[in-house]
Each structure stands twice: as structure tokens, then as C-alpha cells.
């Protein structure tokens, strides 16, 4: 499998990239476009490395009034999509996403994202709430969740005690753009990955 790292990306003329031009906050000089194939994960390798260890990421959604609202959640990823789960007990974010699927996930905290050297990333994308099977549909993500929070098995075995907590929706985020700060300093221009080829 292709490592999919930043050096593997197809560099393009940023002036011709429509998506890059749309991003007011991007550093267009560093813009790259990744194309999805069956062999290559969508997310750049360093971003995948952050997602693999991140205990908490900040999910920002847009509320009914068009304002941002942010939730710290465990980010999970298969290298292509970013997943988060939400109990129906904390369902407001799910309603917001259904009304406006544009979301953003940041990995910002050196404590919650234990990598050396430290990097930061912000992932923008479109989210979909998957809740066909609230009771156990989310369990397909359990191996990823367990890797970060082994104690979840303890609580899952006792789910009868907190039944609504384990009625969960999956937030499935298709990333479109990644902002990347190699040394974590957000005062510097971000490297921007425009992730193309996502249907």
C-alpha cells in the first residue's frame, strides 16, 4: 500500500485550483491535491498518524443561527474518513449536522494528541449521521475506539446500567481539505491539502 505521505501528493499550480481559491484561510502556495485510488488512503500520512493516536479532537458544527459550536470527541479514522460517535443523550450536534453537514475537526492538544514531534491539523469536510441501527451499528468502530479507550469494554459489558449512552449515532466525515502545521505553530501559514476525488 502506498504510504500516502505528503511527498506522494500530486503538486499542482495553486493558482489553477478552484478549491484552493475558495479557501480564504488557506496558504495557497502550499496547496496540494490528493487523488483517491483504491490503493491510497485519502488522508495524508502525517494526518493519519495524528488521528491514530488522538484521544480528543474538536468537532465544530454550524448551528441553526449559522454560528459555530464545538464538541470535544474521540476521533476515529480508517485513513479515508473520520468517524466520531455520539450518544443520543448528547444529540444536539447530530441535529446540527443533519441541518448543515459542513463540519471541521481539529487536532490541537499536545496532551490529547501524543505525538513527537508535535503537529497540528484541521480537517474540513462533509458529515453524515449514520443511525440506521443505533443499538449496535456503531460497534463496527469499536476496535478503533477500544484502541484509544480500552475502558469502553468495561462499560459496554455493563451497558444495561447506562442503556441510552450506548444508543449511538455514527458521524461519518468525508474530508475535503486539511490544514497542516508541521510544528504546531498556527501563527505560521498552514500547508493545505485539497483532497480531490471524493464522491
Amino acid at each position: 500500500m502506498n504510504s500516502g505521505g505528503p511527498d506522494d501528493d500530486e503538486r499542482v499550480n495553486p493558482d489553477s485550483g478552484e478549491a484552493a481559491a475558495e479557501f480564504r484561510g488557506g496558504d495557497r502556495a502550499a496547496c496540494t491535491v490528493r487523488r483517491v485510488t483504491d490503493l491510497e488512503p485519502l488522508l495524508p500520512a502525517p494526518v493519519r498518524a495524528l488521528l491514530d493516536v488522538a484521544l480528543v479532537g474538536e468537532l465544530t458544527v454550524v448551528d441553526d443561527a449559522g454560528r459555530p459550536i464545538t464538541y470535544p470527541l474521540i476521533p476515529l479514522s480508517d485513513g479515508n474518513l473520520v468517524y466520531m460517535t455520539s450518544s443520543v443523550l448528547f444529540s444536539r450536534k447530530l441535529r446540527h449536522i443533519k441541518a448543515n453537514p459542513k463540519v471541521c475537526v481539529s487536532l490541537t492538544d499536545p496532551v490529547a494528541v501524543p505525538v513527537e514531534p508535535f503537529h497540528r491539523a484541521t480537517i474540513q469536510g462533509d458529515a453524515r449521521v449514520v443511525e440506521d441501527e443505533l443499538h449496535e451499528g456503531w460497534e463496527r468502530l469499536l476496535p478503533l475506539w477500544r484502541a484509544k479507550e480500552p475502558a469502553i469494554d468495561f462499560f459496554l459489558k455493563r451497558r444495561f446500567g447506562i442503556p441510552l449512552f450506548f444508543e449511538r449515532s455514527v458521524i461519518e466525515i468525508t474530508p475535503h481539505r486539511v490544514l497542516w502545521w508541521e510544528d504546531g505553530r498556527t501563527s505560521d501559514p498552514a500547508r493545505v491539502y485539497e483532497l480531490a476525488g471524493v464522491s
Partner: protein
């Protein structure tokens, strides 16, 4: 997330090493990015450190700042979860690279699990969860066994097993034990206990006491199956009626076979079980839950079982069950401590609601002393076998309960070990009383 006063939120925010700035970009996608900051509680502003020039929100723009913390716990996950969200508008933006922006904060929310334990935080979301599920046309699922386990509060059956066991072993001491009648008495007692648990949930749901309780524990706050939507009121009522029907049916059959006096004992038990929480009496609302529980799960059950076996009444099971009657009343008493806010809100004026913490703790001590004094006095007076003094060995558990009550009176989840020890105190004392009688029978 709960609403926070902005000054409180900004004071809390100062403890975080960085903020996450969020706003909605020109393309409609939210942007969030870590940034250093300086919060001013007095001015209700947050000055942000420098950001990359294309990441700065513009003056007048709505923005949010999130401050989040966890402590990783390798092999477990993490703890110390807390976060603060503040919202406001960008009030100034200095020109040129290297300058930050200032946010005027107008509202805030947040959560700190040290202030609001996770289970309480989750419980506060139940109403919204039910609405969300209703909107989806979905219901939470649970297997039939666990639903039965929860809805009937099955583990509390120890409250029934002890007095029934005492009644049986006293009948054996009198040479009157009969296996079939004992088993039927046991089944009837179990049915009425499980039925009254369901009835209690129905009445507490109707009064709003359980819904108002945001700190339920495995030992308090009801089964929650109605609040969580796991069981409908109709199904709960059906289960309750079915269990009472079983108890009444067995009671009538036993009375016909063993003597109609048993029907009177059963009728007293039935009335007590319903009058406990059913209007118009609602005895638990009047601070009479403890004596009703003591009577029902002490003398009534012990005497009923004895009568079913022996075909006659006796003072022995009544007197011998007094200690466990007191102790089961104390189980209810302590388990009502975490419920007191919800109970008070629903007008359920239990002793715990009526009394100060010091009075409640003194009441517990008095009850325990009375229970163990009763064991000693009855054995000394020859009312019960000397071997029943074995039950005194359970008394150290009461010290643990007393300490827990004193240390964690206002902390429902920290009080759980004390509640568990208190249930263990009743169970162990009861088992040792039964053991004492058994030794007396066989020796």
C-alpha cells in the same frame, strides 16, 4: 454542555494552555484552529495570539473559543474531562502579521466532570435523548432478560429472601416445615415484591419523582426503565398486575389449604405494598416509607411463611424478624439519600427530605443500634436461640455505612459503596440469623 456565566467561564478558561478558535469561513465550512490567548474576566474579552494571516476572523464575525482538557490514562483511556465554550464577536483586528484579534464574549457553556459527574451529566440528557429517539421513530433496545432484571429491580430480592427464610427456619424449629408450602410462600412473596417494585416505578413516574432525579445509582432512583423508554407504562402496568395476580392466586390457594388466617396476613402485605407509593395514602410521601417497609419485609413476610408451613400463627417469626425489619428499613433510608432533591421536588417528603444530614446520620446509628440490641436482647431473653448471636458478627459493616454517610452524604456516586455495604449488612445479618436457627434445629 451546561450554561455558564461568562465571568465564570473566562476564569476557568485561564487554566487552559490554548484555545480552539472556531468560525464559519467564506465557503460555509467551519474553521477551527488552536491559538494562544489572554482572557480578561473584567472586560469579558479574550485576546488571541497571532494567527496565520488567512486564518483570522474579521471584525464583527461570530466566533467561538473552546478550551478542552483531558488526562490520558494509558491502558484505560482518559479522565479529568472538562471543557469550556465561549461565544462572541471579533471586536478588533490589528493590521499586519503577528497581531491577534480580540473577542468580546457574550455567552458560555461547559462541563467539568469534577463538578458534574459523567453519570449525572448523561442523566441530564435523557429528556433530549427521548425526544431525539421519538423524532427518529426509534426506541432504545434491551434484551428481555435485562429488561426484566431492571424493571423488577431483581437484585433487591434479598429483602424478601431473608424474612421468608426466617419464617421457614422457625417453622422447621417448631417441627412444622413443609417444603411445598414454603416454596409457594416464597414464590408469592417474590411476586408481590417484584410487583410492588414495578408499581413503585409507575407511581414515581406519575409523580415526577424519578424524572426529577438526575443522580440515580444502581441502588436508588428507581429502575429508570420508564424514563429511558425501555418499557412502556402499559407494559410496566401489565407486568405489575401479572405479578400481583400470581401472588394473590397463590395466597388464596395457600389460605384455602393452610388456614384463612393466612389471607389476612397476605392482605396486610398487599395493602402495605400498594399504600407505600399509591395515592391516596402514598405513605412514603408522608415520611412513613420506613415503617411500612419494616413491617412488610419483616414480620408480615416471616409470619406469612411460618403460617403457610405450620398452618397457624406464632409470635416467634414476628419477634425474630424485627432486626431484619429494622435493617431493611435502613436500606430504604440510606438509598433515599441520593434521591432527596428529586423527591423533594416531587413532594415526596421522605424522612431524608425532612431531616438534616446530621439527623439522618443519627437516625441511621439509632436504627442499627436498635437492630443489634434487639438480636442480643431476644437471644438473652430466650426468645430466639443463642446461636442467633452469630448475627452480631455483621455489625462492623454498619460502621462502614456510617462512615460513608458522613463522608459522602452530598455525593451520590461516592455514596454507592456505603449503600452496597448497607444492603450487605441486612443480607449478612439475615443469613446469620437463619444460620443460627438452623444450627439450633440440627444440634
Amino acid at each position: 454542555m451546561a450554561h455558564l456565566d461568562t465571568a465564570d467561564a473566562l476564569a476557568r478558561a485561564r487554566a487552559y494552555p490554548h484555545a480552539v478558535l472556531s468560525y464559519v469561513g467564506a465557503d460555509g465550512y467551519p474553521v477551527n484552529v488552536a491559538v494562544g490567548f489572554t482572557a480578561s474576566v473584567d472586560r469579558a474579552t479574550v485576546d488571541l495570539d497571532a494567527l496565520g494571516p488567512d486564518l483570522r476572523p474579521v471584525p464583527g464575525q461570530d466566533v467561538e473559543l473552546t478550551f478542552s482538557h483531558i488526562r490520558p490514562q494509558p491502558g484505560i483511556g482518559y479522565d479529568e474531562r472538562r471543557y469550556v465554550n465561549v461565544w462572541g464577536t471579533v471586536s478588533t483586528q490589528a493590521a499586519g502579521a503577528g497581531h491577534g484579534v480580540q473577542v468580546s464574549v457574550d455567552r458560555a457553556s461547559g462541563w467539568d466532570e469534577q463538578d458534574t459527574p459523567f453519570f449525572e451529566y448523561a442523566e441530564r440528557g435523557v429528556t433530549a435523548a427521548r425526544q431525539y429517539l421519538d423524532d427518529l421513530g426509534a426506541r432504545p433496545r434491551m434484551g428481555p432478560w435485562w429488561t426484566f432484571f431492571l424493571a423488577t429491580r431483581l437484585p433487591f430480592l434479598t429483602a424478601t429472601l431473608i424474612p421468608v427464610g426466617l419464617g421457614g427456619v422457625i417453622a422447621a424449629r417448631d417441627g412444622a416445615f413443609h417444603g411445598l408450602w414454603f416454596v409457594l410462600a416464597l414464590v408469592a412473596a417474590v411476586a408481590v415484591h417484584l410487583g410492588l417494585n414495578m408499581a413503585n416505578d409507575l407511581f414515581d413516574d406519575a409523580s415526577g419523582a424519578d424524572a426529577a432525579n438526575v443522580t440515580p445509582t444502581p441502588f436508588s432512583g428507581g429502575s429508570r426503565v420508564l424514563q429511558y423508554g425501555l418499557v412502556t407504562r402499559r407494559a410496566m402496568l401489565g407486568g405489575c398486575v401479572a405479578l400481583y395476580a400470581v401472588a394473590i392466586g397463590i395466597g388464596i390457594a395457600l389460605a384455602a389449604e393452610r388456614g384463612w388466617g393466612l389471607l389476612a396476613i397476605g392482605a396486610v402485605g398487599l395493602v402495605l405494598s400498594l399504600a407505600y407509593s399509591a395515592p391516596p395514602l402514598r405513605l412514603v410521601h408522608r415520611g412513613l416509607g420506613e415503617p411500612v417497609t419494616a413491617l412488610g419485609f419483616g414480620p408480615v413476610m416471616a409470619l406469612g411463611t411460618y403460617f403457610a408451613c405450620a398452618g397457624r400463627a406464632s409470635w416467634q417469626p414476628v419477634l425474630a424478624s424485627l432486626p431484619v425489619a429494622l435493617l431493611i428499613a435502613l436500606v430504604l433510608y440510606v438509598n433515599q439519600v441520593p434521591d432527596r432533591a428529586g423527591d423533594a421536588a416531587a413532594g415526596k417528603r421522605t424522612l431524608i427530605v425532612r431531616w438534616t444530614p446530621a439527623q439522618v446520620q443519627a437516625g441511621y446509628t439509632a436504627g442499627v443500634v436498635a437492630a443489634f440490641a434487639c438480636i442480643a436482647a431476644e437471644a438473652a431473653a430466650g426468645v430466639t436461640p443463642l446461636w442467633t448471636l452469630l448475627a452480631l458478627a455483621a455489625s462492623p459493616l454498619a460502621v462502614r455505612v456510617r462512615r460513608g454517610l458522613r463522608a459522602h452524604y452530598a455525593q451520590p456516586y461516592a455514596l454507592m459503596p456505603a449503600m452496597q455495604a448497607n444492603i450487605g449488612l441486612h443480607l449478612l445479618t439475615g443469613l446469620l440469623l437463619v444460620a443460627g436457627y438452623t444450627i439450633a434445629v440440627v444440634s
